[in-house]
């Protein structure tokens, strides 16, 4: 099960801003100030970076003396301070490896290179560790190298004589910033393309933007109006529906192109501040030429430094590139085009840094100041802090432009993780949100499946309603009012369609608002909760959180059974949830409990699936019928074409034609699919006519490989093969016209009384009539729980019919079963 998608793990180490002007590239800003050292946010969560945390701990000690440096000639500065000292300590760790590796590798012959199988070997050194190696080889002569361990010198020596003071921020990840600024400002061939450089284990990913030939940052032909709208979308960017192609020239627009694609419907008042627009365009026109500055920017690049595990490298890079990097830089580009934003902020940051260097401000003070003074620095800080914590980043570039960015988390999985898989306890375990074959039997919904929530789903809020409404109102924006209205109307027990009917909000609007809430992690789309549905303790629930959750549960439902009691009750033989509800008065509360349990991944719905089983008798009957048809056909053909085919054997083309004709005649009484098949693709091969029986046994439906002695399952009833169609037809033909059995009314299986009255009628109807409605769900992938919701039928009726068809729910049923109707093989899972 290695193909399991993993929840996002940002692996974010740092964010770096590079700007190039005619004077050359400048390393403008990076955050955090000391990457890989004080990034406290990440430290606890990541055990796999233990070696790094170690070095982090030791990074306070300035004297990573281990490597007493016999090479005083080195080129770096003593007071590189803590940022560097981290590097040092890592060196210590790294060098051990490296020297070992070197010595062995020099005896090339007997050491085939190998990735050692040790569990941690995939992540050898960080850049810093290898950097020591690099310095050994690079900055020093190799003679020194070969002389052995002495080469472990730390490079924090004086960096040349150029300055007595080298501020700590001029060295990042162990290298002076002038190395980085050259490395990370690529040639224009990367304009608006993914820029990816790897150094040892670190990946540097960006999306460089170059100034256009005309000195502008965007194409001029674009109408300004379009652009206005976007800026208003505070926190409302629905990036998940983004359909903009990569690096098209319109990305000034692309900040929120997604919102355009997503909100074709009735969301009112998209343009919130029309007045600003004129204002803005004039601004843009006026300032972009940047007349007062002697120097202007020709390129900027925001580079995200990542340290993805080797095996997840492509996934991690793609996630953050698609969801964060491109969108963020597009926003910057938009602002750059509009107000020369990036360059102005860059100049301010550089200016502050220069001043700080003169005053020898400490790194922390400098960063405090930068964050206070520069909105871009603040934005990068926000972005880093939120994204590296896997949260939603709300980034404000200017009063007009703010965007929300996130790497969408994994919300559910159909796979139960095995003992050898990496596990994500608490993840919602379900197949309910995957698109199954007949998920759209009616195919009347939008073409893009995952982007519009299926209308038969319901919304489960992930927080309590009041809190979400409060947040939504606080965020404001055009969506706030409709969202609040919708949240108030929404119930996890009602599907979008039902809510639409009851509240009067159009269905597309509901789907849009719901997907907005889902995307921004406020809600989850689930099959509507129902008391007749069955819920079990999720095999993936996180029992290590039980204690905390029990307390929270106690708080939420103080007078009700405790969380362990609920879970304990839901263990054991699965039963409909309704059977746990002690009385009608408790119904609402118990649905709140169920919602609470689902939200936390404690329970999951146990759903039923079924396929149609074709027993040998039916196969045989169909076989006989087909043979009879064959014989009839053969006889009629023999009459018409006077034994033509028999005598002339294989040669006769005419024979085929007449055969086909006869075939069409003979099968005219059978199903249409059969007829089309018979006259169509399976024209018999000539040599088959040589068979001495004179009967073309392999013709048409007679598949010799299908045994008549065994049962078969119909995999896809809605795409049944001709033979399968015949089987199904035969099966249905065997259903009794009416059910002679009466209901044992005194002992109804279900405790549910609300839908009780239709029972007898459901039991009396002939299954022949209802079969067409049901059969498309019998594909093993569509949960039968969908049937009542989609078909608008009463659950009780549906379950009675399904039970008659052979569904085994584990509940003892009073329905008398007719073996002829028992055609389903059913199984239940989440």
């Amino acid at each position: 099960m290695s193909s399991i998608a993993r929840p996002p793990d940002p692996c974010l180490v740092a964010i770096v801003l590079i700007a190039r002007s005619r004077a050359g590239p400048r390393f403008v800003f990076h955050y955090p100030p000391r990457p890989l050292t004080d990034n406290a946010l990440r430290a606890p969560a990541k055990a796999r970076r233990s070696s790094r945390s170690k070095s982090r701990q030791s990074s306070k000690s300035n004297d990573s003396t281990s490597s007493e440096d016999s090479h005083s000639s080195s080129d770096e500065d003593e007071d590189e301070s803590q940022g560097q000292s981290n590097t040092q300590s890592t060196h210590v760790a790294g060098n051990g490896n490296l020297s070992a590796r070197r010595s062995s590798n020099f005896a090339i012959d007997d050491h085939p290179i190998s990735v050692s199988p040790g569990p941690d070997s995939q992540r050898p050194g960080s850049i810093s560790s290898s950097r020591a190696y690099l310095r050994k080889r690079g900055a020093n002569s190799d003679a020194e190298n070969d002389s052995g361990g002495g080469s472990d010198r730390q490079e924090e020596g004086p960096r040349g004589a150029d300055g007595p003071y080298r501020p700590p921020w001029e060295s990042v990840l162990g290298l002076p910033v002038d190395v980085w600024e050259k490395l990370l400002s690529p040639s224009p061939s990367w304009h608006k393309r993914r820029f990816e450089v790897g150094i040892n284990d670190l990946a540097f990913v960006g999306w460089p933007v170059f100034v256009r030939g005309d000195g502008g940052w965007k194409k001029q032909r674009r109408k300004k109006k379009k652009r206005k709208q976007r800026a208003e979308w505070e926190g409302a960017e629905l990036g998940h529906n983004e359909t903009t192609e990569d690096s098209q020239d319109d990305d000034g627009e692309a900040i929120a192109a997604s919102t355009e694609t997503l909100s074709p419907h009735t969301i009112p008042a998209k343009v919130q501040r029309p007045s600003v627009s004129s204002n803005r365009s004039s601004k843009a026109g006026g300032e972009s030429p940047n007349t007062d500055d002697k120097d202007s920017m020709t390129m900027f690049n925001v580079v995200f430094v990542l340290d993805p595990p080797l095996l997840e490298y492509p996934t991690r890079i793609r996630e953050i590139y698609d969801n964060i990097i491109k969108k963020f830089i597009k926003a910057l580009k938009y602002e750059q085009a509009r107000t020369d934003y990036v360059w102005k902020e860059s100049q301010q940051i550089l200016h502050l840094k220069e001043k700080a260097k003169e005053k020898r401000t400490s790194l922390n003070n400098l960063y405090t100041e930068l964050i206070n003074q520069s909105s871009l620095a603040r934005a990068i800080l926000m972005l880093f802090t939120s994204i590296s914590a896997s949260k939603i980043a709300s980034v404000t570039l200017s009063p007009d432009v703010s965007i929300s960015l996130q790497i969408p988390p994994l919300t559910s999985t159909p796979y139960l993780f095995g003992p050898t898989d990496q596990v994500y306890p608490g993840l919602w375990l379900t197949t309910a949100d995957s698109i199954s074959p007949a998920d759209d039997p009616t195919a009347d919904e939008n073409a893009a499946p995952h982007q519009v929530l299926a209308k038969h789903f319901a919304l489960l809020l992930l927080d309590n309603e009041a809190a979400i409404i409060k947040d939504v109102e606080a965020a404001g924006g055009a969506l706030a009012a409709p969202l609040v209205h919708y949240i108030r109307c929404s119930r996890p027990t009602k599907s979008f369609v039902q809510i639409s009917q009851s509240s009067g909000i159009p269905l597309p609007t509901i789907q849009f608002l719901a997907s907005h809430l889902v995307y921004w992690r406020r809600a989850r789309a689930v099959p509507p909760l129902h008391q007749r549905d069955t819920y079990i303790v999720s095999p993936n629930c996180d029992l290590s959180k039980l204690e905390v959750a029990t307390a929270a549960f106690q708080l939420a439902f103080p007078t009700l059974p405790s969380l362990p009691k609920m879970l304990s009750a839901l263990s054991g033989t699965p039963r409909p949830y309704g059977s746990f509800i002690p009385s009608k008065d408790h119904k609402a509360t118990y649905f709140s409990i169920l919602a609470w349990l689902l939200r936390g991944g404690w329970v999951t719905q146990l759903r039923s699936f079924a396929r149609v089983k074709v027993p040998p008798e039916v196969k045989m009957a169909v076989e006989m019928a087909i043979r009879r048809e064959e014989v009839d056909k053969y006889l009629s053909k023999g009459r018409s074409s006077s034994f033509n085919s028999k005598k002339e054997g294989s040669s006769s083309e005419d024979g085929f034609d007449s055969d086909d004709l006869a075939d069409a005649d003979a099968s005219s009484s059978s199903s249409s699919s059969l007829a089309s098949h018979g006259s169509g693709d399976e024209t018999p091969m000539p040599n088959r006519f040589k068979s001495d029986t004179g009967l073309d046994l392999t013709h048409s439906l007679l598949d010799q490989s299908a045994s008549l002695k065994t049962s078969a399952l119909i995999q896809q009833p809605h795409k049944a093969s001709p033979l399968e169609s015949r089987w199904l037809a035969e099966l249905v033909a065997r259903f009794p016209e009416y059910t002679p059995h009466t209901v044992n009314n005194g002992d109804q299986a279900s405790p549910d009384t609300t839908e009780g009255d239709i029972g007898p009628s459901a039991l009396m109807t002939s299954l022949k009539d209802v079969w067409p409605t049901y059969v498309k769900y019998f594909n093993g992938y569509d949960a039968l729980e969908k049937v009542p919701v989609r078909e608008g039928l009463k659950r009780k009726l549906v379950w009675q019919i399904l039970t008659r068809l052979g569904l085994i729910t584990g509940q003892q049923s009073s329905i008398e079963l007719d073996p002829k109707e028992q055609v389903l093989v059913s199984f239940r899972h989440w």
């Binding site: 050491h111 095996l311 089983k613």
Partner: protein, 554 residues
């Protein structure tokens, strides 16, 4: 697949320069291969290929034009060079979206080798051969060919040096293994076991058979437990093992979401299952079924099995039977009604199968698996389907589902709530007699649920349900019992055989020891393994626990 390899160096006159390239003309235009399209623009990447000194000695990769260039630039300083330094880089070019993890070490190794060769005799700096010629070029050429074709190479360079490279795939780190997990080989370890193996490994492998838990293996092999775990993990890393759970008839299994797409759809898997569990299987694909068992296979310690002529009775597969005297079942169709051709087909089937045996066909297997469900132990399931299961090795049947991933084990967890034990609840299920399978017949009388409709019920399913209910009977006895137990805890090895807890006055495990397992984080398998008791003993012991204990199935 390596798309190209090129050797680049810093030329004091020309700057970064491609000296040799394979294929010719892939990186920079070549007069000898004018038709070769360029993969990329070298000037775009030259800064990454021949970077500043500070960056030399690092593995550097850059993506451009759909390619990933992987290099390890080396800067060597010596007065013998122009400007006292020599910078070179051997770069591998891969498709950008290809997995490059195993090539990182190749780039590094190559750089190391060249570094060494250059130091020894100026292998590179004295290579004045034209592009496309000479030793360095042919080295690149052979390297690329061999790695692409054989995933390894051994290229002699001179009398002292040979380039040995092998591509190793990188696998994910296996998680820690647990004492109560049951390993099963996916390979025949005998084929590659030799006396140079780790001693622990040599001792444990014979005991890995899909039945023994790691704890048992360590006991049987008399090896240190933590070393055993490490050895198992090592085997896991290379995919030589599956990890299963401890099979018992009180365990609960249920289908996973893979059910529809695997066993319920894949007839080949149904046949595989039939072979594994040694049932008589009638295939609908090949009229010559039932499947025959390839001879020569004895133990079920390896997956996939090669077949097994003699059903091996595992310690707990007591239900496997070899007898043929089963209730005859209705033969599916009446052959006399068949036309001749069909009848002959059918007869082939019948010839091979003894007429009195029940034929479990593919759908039958699916139905058997589908009838496993939460809240129903294997034993209960067996009782309901004993007829169909007559020729089936139950343990293997279950194991097959676990291996294929369409079944999962429903583990039980006990949680001490800290509340006092609840009052006795009547109407709960009565304790069942265990291990007397023959007395049960037909479907279990167990009705829907456990007979209580309220979540207040502490019953958590069928077997463990009565735990809390019986508790208060013993309440007054607890104190002296636990004290007893504390005294004797060290004496008792946990091998109690007392099936009837009412008669048993000893308490080998005191509440304090037990309580640390009752936080919901320890499944029954773990508790049983670590306390060395059976699940039955555990269940009855939990009933006597002072305070409420809830069971969660997960």
């Amino acid at each position: 697949m390596i798309k190209a390899i090129f050797y680049s160096k810093f030329d004091t006159q020309e700057g970064p320069k491609v000296v040799h390239q394979v294929p010719d003309g892939a990186i920079v235009p070549s007069s000898t291969a004018p038709s070769q399209p360029l993969f990329l623009t070298f000037s775009d990447i030259s800064f990454f290929v021949i970077p500043r000194q500070e960056l030399c000695g690092n593995l550097i990769q850059v993506c451009t034009n759909g390619f990933r260039i992987l290099g390890y630039p080396i800067c060597m300083k010596s007065p013998r060079y122009d400007r006292n330094e020599f910078i070179f880089n051997f770069c591998l070019v891969l498709a950008e979206d290809e997995d490059f993890s195993s090539y990182k070490s190749v780039a590094q190794k190559l750089a190391d080798l060249m570094h060494g060769l250059e130091e020894q005799n100026g292998f590179l700096s004295k290579d004045y051969s034209k592009s496309g010629e000479g030793k360095v070029y042919s080295l690149c050429e052979t390297l690329m060919e061999d790695l692409n074709n054989y995933c390894e190479c051994m290229i002699p360079i001179d009398e002292l040096n040979t380039l040995n490279i092998k591509l190793f795939p990188v696998y994910p780190t296996p998680p820690p293994v647990r004492a109560w997990q049951v390993p099963l080989f996916t390979v025949r370890y005998q084929a590659f076991l030799d006396e140079n193996w780790d001693l622990t490994m040599q001792r444990i492998v014979p005991h890995i058979n899909g039945v023994n838990s790691i704890r048992i293996i360590s006991l049987l092999a008399d090896t240190d437990f933590s070393l055993t775990c490490r050895a198992i993990r090592h085997l896991l890393y290379y995919g030589c093992l599956f990890l299963l759970d401890i099979f018992s008839f009180s365990a609960i299994y249920a289908p996973t979401a893979l059910f529809s797409s695997t066993i319920a759809a894949d007839e080949a898997m149904q046949q595989e299952c039939a072979r594994y569990v040694k049932t008589l299987f009638v295939s609908s694909m090949t009229p010559t079924a039932p499947s025959t068992f390839p001879p020569g296979y004895e133990k079920d310690d390896v997956w996939p099995p090669a077949g097994d002529p003699t059903p091996s009775l595992g310690a707990d597969s007591i239900l496997t039977t070899t007898s043929d005297n089963l209730s005859p079942t209705a033969s599916p169709a009446n052959p006399s009604t068949l036309k001749a051709s069909v009848a002959s087909t059918a007869n082939t089937v019948l010839q091979h199968s003894p007429p009195n045996q029940e034929l479990v066909d593919g759908v039958g297997i699916v139905e058997l698996y589908a009838s496993l469900k939460q809240g129903q132990s294997v034993k209960q399931w067996y009782l309901q389907h004993s007829r169909q299961l007559a020729h089936i090795d139950i343990r293997r049947f279950i194991t097959f589902g676990i291996i294929k991933g369409f079944l999962y084990r429903v583990h039980k967890y006990a949680i001490a709530t800290g509340n006092p034990a609840p009052q006795f609840k009547s109407g709960a299920t009565t304790p069942r007699s265990h291990y007397q399978l023959s007395t049960h017949s037909g479907p279990s009388s167990r009705g829907p649920g456990t007979g209580t409709n309220s979540p207040y019920a502490s019953s958590a399913g069928d077997d463990p349900a009565p735990i809390a209910q019986h508790h208060h009977h013993h309440h007054h006895q607890h104190h002296h019992r636990s004290e007893d137990a504390r005294d004797r805890a060290s004496v008792h090895s946990g091998s109690r055989s007392g099936l009837n807890d009412e008669d048993d006055d000893e308490e080998p495990i005191d509440d304090r020891e037990l309580s640390k397992y009752l936080d919901g984080m320890h499944c029954f398998d773990q508790i049983c393994t670590e306390l060395e008791i059976s699940e039955r003993e555990l269940t009855s012991r939990l009933k006597r626990y002072q305070g409420e204990v809830l069971i969660i199935h997960r």
